[in-house]
């Protein structure tokens, strides 16, 4: 448990709580404090979006608790705006006025969870922990993809042409004929590709390239 806690502090994710009801902000804030999770509270969605677009805001590490029904901007609208801004933090909706169509819409738009008020505290904590875990994994995946993209960018035109052919399953011999090159040249290029992509096998090469092409 202790170990777990220090891990959280070192990466220090922040839970952003957006709710127009100050009593809810207070109680959720206290609940999060009690389990040692950093949190910030916002009284309305616009306030949150404003500070999100600020420069010193950590846009990656954390998750967002959103109320649905708020004056001025609804939680669903806020979710949409965040998506437009490229936000990848998981969103947990917490609402007292939920109905099935709203819940379905929110989930379709990528919400992690949809919790009805009043809720058991443990339920919320579990949802937050899960969302933070998902967030960490998402960041790791994204970082890996970025590394692959960098490596892909370092290939020469000829090398990326050959990479494409390899990944689509063509044999060296076939590639050589198609590109009017000797098989030996293809072999050399292929070795360079494997080197630059830092992979040891064809299977690994195909895997990193496919992973990088599926940014979700």
């Amino acid at each position: 448990m202790q170990n777990n806690k220090t891990k959280h502090v070192s990466s220090s994710p922040v839970v952003h709580v957006v709710d127009d009801d100050e009593a809810v902000l207070d109680s959720v804030g206290m609940l999060l404090d009690s389990i040692g999770l950093k949190n910030t509270c916002y009284k309305d969605a616009q306030g949150f979006l404003d500070s999100y677009s600020g420069t010193e805001f950590d846009k990656k590490n954390g998750c967002i608790l959103l109320d649905i029904r708020m004056p001025f901007m609804s939680g669903i609208e806020c979710q949409y705006r965040l998506e437009q801004m490229g936000c990848r933090m998981p969103i947990i909706f917490v609402t007292g006025h939920g109905d099935v169509p709203t819940a379905v819409e929110a989930m379709k738009n990528g919400a992690a969870e949809f919790i009805q008020k009043p809720f058991r505290e443990q339920l919320l904590i579990d949802a937050i922990q899960k969302a933070l875990q998902v967030n960490i994994e998402d960041q790791k995946r994204l970082e890996k993809i970025n590394q692959t993209l960098e490596k892909l960018a370092s290939l020469t035109n000829r090398e990326s042409q050959i990479l494409k052919a390899i990944v689509s399953g063509k044999a060296n011999k076939v590639i050589a004929i198609e590109l009017h090159l000797s098989q030996r040249t293809i072999e050399i290029h292929r070795a360079h590709v494997m080197d630059k992509m830092q992979v040891k096998s064809l299977a690994e090469l195909v895997k990193v390239v496919i992973d990088a092409s599926t940014i979700h």
């Binding site: 099935v100 819940a103 989930m107 009805q116």
Partner: protein, 137 residues
């Protein structure tokens, strides 16, 4: 003769390409009317009255879509979807529900259902959605 053969082959290929919609629901009235309308749109429909019955069937490997009712006898509709996901089978799935239960809707969507539709619903809307999904397969 060759032409006839060609035609035969063509029709065979067409039959193979026909998409399937599997419906799992114990409401026979709904099964009847829904499958009648879907068949008119040129899809093959297979109906099941329980999750167990569906799981005991060998799925044909071709474009397919799944419609499941939440409240089934024994294994529930969402458990069925989660079970199918765990088996590594990915079928685009619509969940139907006769009770409006938010937590079930959320669970269905977390299990990657395409949509969660409350009964009663307008059949044509559902059919349009199903056809839209099949077209993209």
């Amino acid at each position: 003769m060759i032409l006839l053969l060609n035609l035969l082959m063509l029709s065979k290929i067409k039959a193979i390409e026909k998409p399937i919609v599997y419906i799992v629901d114990n409401d026979h009235k709904l099964l009847c009317s829904l499958s009648k309308k879907l068949v008119q749109h040129g899809v093959i429909v297979e109906v099941f009255s329980s999750a167990e019955e569906f799981l005991n069937t060998k799925l044909r490997s071709r474009a397919a879509c799944l419609i499941i009712e939440v409240n089934l006898p024994n294994m529930g509709g969402i458990e069925l979807l989660e079970h199918i996901n765990n088996l590594g089978v990915r079928l685009p799935t619509f969940i139907l529900s006769s009770s409006s239960d938010i937590s079930k809707a959320v669970r269905a969507m977390q299990a990657e259902a395409i949509d969660f539709i409350e009964k009663p619903f307008i059949e044509n809307t559902l059919i349009e959605k199903v056809l839209g999904v099949i077209k993209k397969l």
